[in-house]
Structures are given as C-alpha cells and as structure tokens.
Symmetry: C2
Subunit: 195 residues, 2 copies
C-alpha cells in the first residue's frame, strides 16, 4: 500500500457499500503533511505537462490543489458552488449534479482567471460518478483552455467516473483507487500503487 492507501485503511470509515468517509484527514479535518505529500505526487506525475493553472472545486479540493500548485509553482483557481442559477456576467458556469446529496449546484469560475492561454490540471478530492470533473471540464472548454489531465486523491473504482473520463481519452491520475467497500472493508485496486 502507498502512503495514502495506508492512511485510508487506518482512518477511513466505510459507511456503506458506496460511501467512504475520510473526514479525519481530507474532508473536514485536514492533515497538512499528507496534503504536502499528495501535492508532491501530483507535481511529479504532471511535471512535464506545461501546466499554467490548477482548477479545483471548493471546499475539499482546495488543500491538495494548493499544495500541488506550490510544488508546480502555478496558481490555483477554485470554482465556486452556488445554489441559484443566476446568470452573471464575467463567469464561466456549469451544472453539477451530486448523486450523494441529490442536488444540482451551479459551479463557476471568473473569466479573469482562466483564459485560452492556460494549460490546465483539474484536481479533486474524490472521483465517483465524474459529475464534478465533467463540470470543471465544461468550464475549461468554455475558456478555450487546454486540459492536460485530471488528478484525483481518491477514486471510487467501482463507480463509473474514472472509466467515463478515460474513455474520453482524458489522462486521469488517481493516488488511490478503491475497488470495493464490501463488508465494511476497503479494498484497493492494484494499479494505483505508482505513488
């Protein structure tokens, strides 16, 4: 197991066959040393991609994204979530449906901070159905920026997001891929051990 899989095995709470809670180091309490290691791994994986900007989504994407940006020496933009669908000038917007929360949010990024000159790495904490990443990709497309890949801290390999993105030809790098959460236990997919 890599450092992240070890942390998940030690502290992750399996709430159901599809829900893993990692509130102790990623989604509520944040472990800064772990975030630094995560940032170093993403920076290594995408070091030669010519990235000019990292795009993530508030709130749990911010810590790993900022640590990656620190290492790659590029700015981070976090898309904002809003309930209301008010069209505001100067924003790129996309709709993101959350199956877990059963709600649709509008996410948006200011046109000031994403342009056609940007080479973008999308980063997020979890990849499940891929809806958040697809929303962020929509925004990157609207800006005319170039997407070089997607970095994910924890991918739920038993849900469709990863396959969906990889079938589109997107480079997806997940630091931990969960194969199953059956019987209250976390099983990892062997392929995510390059870390």
């Amino acid at each position: 197991m890599n450092f992240l899989e070890q942390k998940i095995a030690a502290e992750g709470k399996v709430l159901s066959e599809s829900v893993l809670k990692v509130d102790s180091f990623l989604n509520h309490q944040v472990d800064p040393q772990l975030m630094q290691k995560i940032g170093e791994e993403f920076a290594k994986l995408f070091s030669d991609a010519g990235i000019t900007k990292i795009v993530t989504l508030e709130s749990s994407g911010i810590a790993p994204a900022v640590m990656t940006g620190l290492r790659l020496n590029v700015p981070v933009v976090f898309a904002r979530k809003r309930k209301s669908l008010t069209l505001v000038d100067g924003l790129y917007s996309a709709e993101v449906h959350s199956f877990t929360k059963r709600e649709t949010n509008e996410i948006s990024v200011s046109k000031d901070y994403l342009t056609s000159d940007d080479v973008v790495l999308i980063l997020d904490d979890f990849l499940a159905n891929g809806q958040a990443v697809l929303g962020l990709m929509d925004i990157v497309n609207q800006a005319g920026a170039k997407l070089v890949g997607v970095g994910i801290v924890i991918e739920k390999g038993f849900q469709q997001g990863g396959q969906l993105l990889r079938e589109k030809g997107i480079r997806v790098e997940s630091l931990a891929i969960i194969d199953s959460l059956t019987n209250g236990e976390v099983t990892f997919k062997r392929e995510a051990t390059h870390v």
Copy 2:
C-alpha cells in the same frame, strides 16, 4: 509595506468604501507561494503558543490555514457552512450572520475533531464585523478547548471586528490591516508591519 500589503496594493480591487476584492490571490484564484509565506508568518507569530489545532471556515480560510498547519505541524479543521438549521448529533454548531451577503449560516465542526485537550488557533481570510470569528470561538468554547489567538490575513480596521475581539482580551494577529478604502485607494494601518 510588507509582502501582503504589496500584493493587496498591486492586485486588490476597491469596489466601494467597505468592499475590497482580492479574488486574484486569496478568495477565488489562490497564490500558493503567497499562502506559504502567510503560513510561515502565522507559524512564527504563534510558535510558542502550544497550538494543537487550527480551526478555520470554508472556503477561503482553508489555504492559509493548511499552510500554517504545515509549518506548525498540527491538523486543520475547517468548519462547514450550511443553510439549514437541522440539529445533528455529534456536531458543535454556531450561527454566523454575514452583513455582506445578508444571510445567516450555520457553521459546524464534528465533535470528533475538537476536544477539551485542544489548544486552538482560529484562522480566517478576512476580519470585518467579527461574526465568523465569534462563531468559531463559540464552537471552540463548546468543545471546552483553549483558544490562544486569532490569525487574520486581511483585517478591515475601519470595521468593528478587530476592536471587539481585542476588547475581549483575545490575541488578534492580522498580517495586513486596512485603514480605509476611500477614493478607491487602499490605505494601511501602520501597526500591521511586523511581517
């Protein structure tokens, strides 16, 4: 001017006599190198306070808090904002009114991540009326934890929050204190130049 005041002077947008927008490096786009410097400053200021935990509020507090936590080698907890006032077991909650957004949010922290053993530094991006910090202090009190101080990236010195907290005997360290935003210009208070 210190490094942060220089950044504010160069990139901050004065939208009115009370509103300063720093979306290019703190509230939407994030400058990871600047966040690292901010983290180093807070860590220096509070190095001998015996801090065991940093408490902040999603989303803009996360980046400076995680960088400070990295330097102090302590975990960060970000309080979550929710619209609904549903009482949930296992949470410390407080109400925070935003004068800017004219809405009241409930903020909450899991009882799992804040206990009476904790020595807490509260960190936030902005200090204006002090409502967010008072809400976080309420949560720290509920947990029976010890508060050693409040670190603020940008304090609006012309609003009441800073005075209110200092009159309560709270140690407030602001890396930049804005004296006024009159005539579209940012004027800093001279005392915040210890950085």
